[in-house]
Subunit: 258 residues, 2 copies
């Protein structure tokens, strides 16, 4: 039995109890690049820890290599944990892994994890749906797999709804097209947006903007997610007040005793 | 500090490590109706366990009562865990609770949980996104809050995309409008759909259909979610083969020795 396990957003306490148990008993852990050391340290002393991460196209390990490593380890009698960051079913390569395991006739189990978008909302102290403001959540990716041809850079507007919260994984650094298309689809330019990097870890960082100023958001270190929608307002107000405070502090306008 | 905690889909092992810790130390646990006893049993002996659930409009406890109970318990010195089924930020009343806590000046923390849609995908052994088939996940609710006016029964077609996986929470029992609108928006009638009830618990049940036959799906006991999209194909094929097997067995066409 191979366990395809979600490692959650980064905080080791946001692993599920089951993921924690499987990690402790694993013979081999094949993990994504973005899984932090604090989580890998939870594996037992018997475990081989193997980074099979891919980043920005620089493939350290090919998907075929990951698949055969899983299958060979399992056939060799090891308890295999394939550790995906976040949840395995959301923007991982789980589809390819399931195809390979089924073709090889190796039994598997998927253990869900807390996905980055949901973790970021919790870290921001907001809700994603609100019966007064947002009745839907749309999870999309800013990273376009060019070979798939599934969607191109011009179809954001399909997803433009005042009553939805949009979560963009791998948002990249250029938010102008997203901004322009959402505005062209008549979304309110005052809708708050927040980008969250390293949610739930000590390196967690936020930056906020309105939709109208989305293009001014900085690139943030991966893993990052971009959230857009009215339910963010509560966090947006606090963060923009903090930004102002920091700006004034940097400009030496406060903290300056006469 | 009040902890607004996700209890996950039902399996106690799918609690986060943090939720588990907070539950053990809680002075009072205010929980949704759908949180199973096995999870409530994890609270320490000191904890008061209070069901503040609402179901199908029959309000056992009003939202205002939940809010004041949280605030009073916290002011009375109790460690308060407000335990939401699934994730607190997805189709709970977290928005109202945050408003009340902020107005009262009571500090809070949100602890995310595994939401039912993600848990159902794991239970089905499928992925929700697949770079070859589905690049988006849309989370919507089949339960229409009539007072909110946010969306009516005729806007499903906005969400009809061949390359998205649709997850409908509280799907109810009448799937004809959903079927008709998705078909009217040119979605393929062969797209697989699966309804999952009590995901990840011993009472877990699945039923499957194609989009074209969606109206034939039975009502399933809450908590239930309905998933629609090409990535379900892998599970659909297995389940429909099992259905056929059961049907033949019931018709005494197999297992009948001469």
């Amino acid at each position: 039995m191979i366990h395809l396990v979600g490692a959650g957003p980064g905080d080791p306490e946001l692993l599920t109890v089951k993921a924690h148990r499987l990690l402790r008993g694993a013979g081999i852990v094949l993990h994504d690049d973005l899984v932090p050391d604090e989580i890998l340290a939870l594996a037992g002393p018997q475990a081989q820890i193997v980074n099979v991460g891919k980043r920005c196209g620089a493939k350290r390990t090919t998907q075929a290599e990951i698949n055969s490593r899983m299958i060979e380890s399992s056939r060799g009698g090891l308890d295999v944990v394939r550790l995906h960051s976040g949840d395995p079913a959301i923007f991982g390569r789980l589809g390819e892994e399931l195809d390979a395991l089924e073709a090889a006739g190796v039994p598997f189990e998927i253990v869900p994890g807390i996905t980055a978008g949901v973790a970021s909302a919790a870290a921001l102290g907001i809700t994603l749906t609100d019966r007064r403001k947002s009745s839907r959540v749309i999870i999309a990716s800013g990273h376009h797999a060019s070979k798939s041809g599934l969607h191109d850079k011009t179809d954001w507007k399909d997803l433009a709804r005042e009553d939805a919260t949009l979560i963009v994984y791998m948002p990249g650094s250029d938010f102008s097209a997203l901004r322009d298309e959402l505005l062209a689809a008549d979304l309110d330019s005052q809708i708050p947006a927040i980008i969250v990097s390293h949610a739930t870890t000590p390196r967690q960082q936020f930056r906020c903007a309105t939709l109208g100023e989305l293009h001014k958001l900085p690139r943030m270190e991966a893993p990052a997610v971009l959230l857009i929608g009215w339910p963010l307002e509560r966090a947006y107000q606090k963060l923009s007040a903090e930004d102002l405070f920091l700006m004034l502090a940097e400009a030496d306008l406060i903290f300056s005793a006469p």
